[in-house]
Symmetry: C2
Subunit: 451 residues, 2 copies
C-alpha cells in the first residue's frame, strides 16, 4: 500500500491546485477562472486514462467536462458525476485563511470548494486513475460528467442530459456531493430536496424618496417585502401558500424508524452546527424530518435602500429579496412556483407591485434503498470505514439526480464523504483529508466489486 | 440691479464649485472632502466680510464653520444656519448626470446637495455678502453657524450649542434648509418631525449556513427582521409600539384649516412626487397630517446574506436593518427609543437575539406662527415672490431647531427655497436656480427690514 499512499499524497497536491482556482460560477467576472478549472479537470481525466475527453459547451454556459473509458465489455457502466464550480465567498472577512489559498489545519483542508465539490469530485477522478495505473484497465466502464454550473442553476447539464441521453447511457450514476451523517459513519443519501430559487421583486415609488418628507404617505418596498414574507410563512414555520403541502409525501415508517436510531443529539446539533439560541421550524416534526422531509421557504438576502456605513433616510423605489423554496417528494418545482406566484399576488400590500422571477429550479428525488448499486456502495464504504453504512437523506438539492432518473432512467448512488461541520456555502469551508483518502479507497473497492 | 444680477451669476458659479466637493459626511472615506467643503465655506464667509471666522472642532467630528459680524450696535442679532455636508449618492446608476458634476437643465442645477443644503446655505452667505458690498455694513448683527454633520447625526453642533450657548447668543435663528409648498408659493415651516435612526441587529446561527442542509431547523435572521418589522407596524400603518402615540399632539383647528386650504392635489402628489400605484399610511388622517403631524416607522435597508448576482442559498448568521422613527411634538426621542427597544424585545421570534443600536436622534419642533421674526420673514418672501406666504410643516427633521430652542432659547425661522420635487436624499437632486436668486433677494430684504 505504500505506493497507494504516495499516490494519495500527490492526489492531495493536485486537489490543492484545483482549489486555488476561484471558479465561482455565479460571478460573471470569474468566467475565465471557471474555464481554467474545467481545463484542469479535463487534464485530470486524461491522466486518469480516459480514452476520450471533451469540453461540452451548451450555449454560453460553463463547459461540462466529459471523459470516458469503455473497455470493460459486458461489465456495468457507471456515470460518475461531480462539479468543479464553487459558491461565492462572502462574507470574506470571516474566513480564517483566504478562501482560495487551501490551508491545512487539524487534518482538514480549508478552502472554498474543499468539500463542495472539488474534494469529492477529485476522489472519483483519483480512484479511477489508481485502478488504471495499477491494472492498466478498469473493472467497469466509466463516463465522467463533471459540471461547472451546479452552484448557479445547472442549465447546461440539464439541457445536455435531456437532449443526449444516449451519449450518457449507463447502469447507474455515482455522485460524490453529499455528506456523512457523522464522522466515521459511512452514509448513503437516498433522498434530496428540490429547489426553486428566485427573486421577489417589489416596486413602489418611482424613485428613492426622503423618508422624512414622504414617510407616512409613500409605500416602502422593503416593508412590503417583510409583509409578503411574513404572510407566506408564519412564525410557526408553516408555509401559507395555498395547496403547497398537497403533494408532500411522508417518509415510510421504516425510514422514520431508521432515522430515529441515528446518532443524533438535537442539543449538540443546535450548539455545534447551528449555534443559535434555539432551533426553529415546523411544529410537530423532528429536526431530521424538518430538514429532510419537509419543504421550506427561506430568504437569502434583501437588496434595496441603503445598507452602507451610517445613516441614510431613504424610502427605496424598489426592493428585491432572494428567496427559495426547498421541495420534497412528490412536489413539482413548476407547480410550486405557480403556487408561490399566486400566493404572492394574494398577499401583496397596497401601494406596491410584486412579482417573482425564477432563477433556477430542480426536482426533489428519492432512490430505492434496495437497489443493487446502492447496496454494493454501502458495503464498500462499510469495509473502508469499519462501520455499518446508514441510509440518510439530505435537505440540500442536487437537481441532477432528478434529471438522471427522468432522462437516463438510472438510479443515483450518493456516496458522500463530507462532514456535517464542513461549512458548505459558508466561510471556512473545509474537507477532512482522511475522508479524502478513504473516499478513494471506498470508490476503488466499489468499482472492483461491481466489476 | 445689473450689479446684483452679475453678483448672483458669480454666486451660482461659486455654488457649483461647492457642489463639486463630494462632502458625504456619513462616509469615512470622504473625510478629506468634507474638510475641503468646510474650508470653502469659511473662505466664503471671509469674502462676505465676516470680521471673525473659525473652524470649530468638537472631538473627531466634522468642523463647524463659524463667522460673525457684530457691528450693528443696538440691532438684533441673527444666527444663520446651514450645512455643507450631503447625503450619500447611491444608487449611482439612476443619476442622469454625475452627482458631483453640477449640471444645468431646464433652469435647475442637478447635483447632490444642490438643494439640501449647499444651495440654500449659499443663499444666506451671498445675501449677507451683497449687503456688505453694497453698504459696507449690515443692518443687523449676524453669526453664521454652518455644520458638516447634518446628514450623519449632527453630534458636533449639538455638543457645541449645549456647551457654548453664550457664544451663539442671538435673537432668532434663520435656517435655510426646507422647502416651499409649491412653486411660486413662499412658505415658512413652523413644525418639523424629530427622528431616531438606528440599526435593528438580529443574530441567529453562529455562522452563515447552507439553506438546504439546515433550512427547516435553523432560524433565519432575515426572516426574523421581517417578523419584527411587521410586528412593530401593521399593514394599516399603525405602529404597534406600546405607548408610542401617548404624547402625540394634534395640530390646532386653525392649523388644520390652513392645511386644508393649501393647493394640494392628492392624486397629483401620488403621480408626480411619489409615483406609486397607491399612497399608503395611517387610516383616518389626510396625507398632510400623515407626513407632517403623525409619527412613522420606516426601514431603509437590510443587510445580511447574499444580494449579489445570481443565487446563493445561505441562511445568514446575522441581519441588520436600518430603521428610523419620525417623531412629532410632543414625543421625546429618548423615550421613543426606550419604547422601541422594549417593543422589539416583546416581538423577537424564538431562535434569534435582537437589539437596537441608536445612531442618532433629534427632537421634533414647533414654532409659534405669531413670532415677529417669523412674520417679517413671511413679508420679505411675500414681496419677492409676489404671493402670500403660507405656514406649513415639514415631515423631515432638522434637530438643530430643537437645540436652538432649548439651549439658546430662540425661535427658528425656516425660510425654505427648495421645491417639493427636488429629489432630496435621492438620485437627481436639483435646485431651481430662479429660487436661488430670489432666495438671495428675500434674505436681503429680510435683513434690511429687521435692521
Amino acid at each position: 500500500m505504500s505506493d497507494l499512499a504516495g499516490f494519495k499524497k500527490q492526489a492531495r497536491e493536485e486537489l490543492f491546485e484545483l482549489l486555488r482556482i476561484p471558479s465561482i460560477s455565479t460571478d460573471p467576472a470569474r468566467k475565465q477562472d471557471v474555464e481554467r478549472a474545467a481545463a484542469f479537470v479535463e487534464q485530470g481525466l486524461k491522466r486518469a486514462g480516459m480514452t476520450r475527453t471533451e469540453l461540452i459547451r451548451v450555449g454560453a454556459g460553463h463547459p461540462l467536462v466529459y471523459g470516458e473509458w469503455l473497455g470493460a465489455e459486458g461489465r456495468p457502466t457507471l456515470l460518475l458525476y461531480g462539479h468543479y464550480d464553487v459558491q461565492p465567498v462572502e462574507p470574506l472577512d470571516e474566513w480564517i485563511s483566504p478562501p482560495f489559498e487551501p490551508t491545512e489545519r487539524d487534518g482538514n483542508v480549508y478552502a472554498r470548494g474543499a468539500c463542495d465539490d472539488k474534494g469529492q469530485t477529485w476522489i472519483l477522478v483519483k480512484a479511477v486513475e489508481w485502478l488504471m495505473r495499477r491494472d492498466g484497465r478498469l473493472p467497469v466502464n466509466v463516463k465522467f460528467l463533471i459540471e461547472g454550473e451546479e452552484e448557479c442553476g445547472g442549465e447546461s447539464i440539464a439541457a445536455y442530459v435531456e437532449q443526449h441521453p444516449e451519449a450518457l447511457a449507463a447502469d447507474a450514476a455515482v455522485i460524490c456531493d453529499s455528506e456523512m451523517f457523522a464522522p466515521e459513519l459511512p452514509s448513503i443519501c437516498t433522498g434530496l430536496r428540490g429547489i426553486a430559487f428566485g427573486e421577489l421583486i417589489v416596486e413602489g415609488p418611482k424613485t428613492d424618496l426622503h423618508s422624512g418628507v414622504y414617510g407616512g404617505a409613500a409605500p416602502n418596498p422593503l416593508m412590503a417585502v417583510a409583509e409578503i414574507l411574513t404572510a407566506l410563512k408564519g412564525r410557526d414555520g408553516k408555509i401559507s401558500i395555498p395547496h403547497f403541502y398537497d403533494r408532500v409525501a411522508e417518509p415510510s415508517p421504516e425510514e422514520m424508524e431508521a432515522w430515529e436510531s441515528l446518532p443524533f443529539d438535537e442539543e449538540e446539533y443546535r450548539k455545534k452546527e447551528v449555534g443559535s439560541p434555539e432551533l426553529t421550524g415546523e411544529a410537530g416534526f423532528s429536526v431530521l424530518e424538518r430538514v429532510w422531509a419537509r419543504p421550506t421557504l427561506e430568504v437569502h438576502g434583501i437588496r434595496g435602500g441603503f445598507t452602507g456605513e451610517g445613516a441614510k433616510t431613504v424610502i427605496p423605489a424598489r426592493a428585491v429579496a432572494k428567496i427559495s423554496l426547498r421541495l420534497v417528494a412528490d412536489q413539482r418545482p413548476e407547480e410550486a412556483v405557480e403556487q408561490l406566484k399566486a400566493a404572492i399576488e394574494g398577499v401583496t400590500p397596497r401601494g406596491v407591485r410584486a412579482s417573482f422571477n425564477l432563477l433556477h429550479a430542480g426536482a426533489p428525488s428519492l432512490v430505492d434503498p434496495d437497489n443493487a448499486y446502492l447496496k454494493t456502495a454501502a458495503s464498500a464504504m462499510e469495509e473502508v470505514f469499519g462501520n455499518r453504512t446508514v441510509y440518510i437523506r439530505s435537505g440540500g438539492s442536487i437537481p441532477i439526480v432528478g434529471l438522471f432518473n427522468r432522462y437516463l432512467e438510472i438510479p443515483s448512488v450518493l456516496m458522500g464523504f463530507g462532514l456535517p461541520d464542513d461549512n458548505l456555502h459558508a466561510p471556512n469551508e473545509k474537507f477532512c483529508l482522511a475522508n479524502f483518502d478513504r473516499g478513494i479507497d471506498a470508490v476503488v473497492r466499489y468499482l472492483e466489486w461491481l466489476g
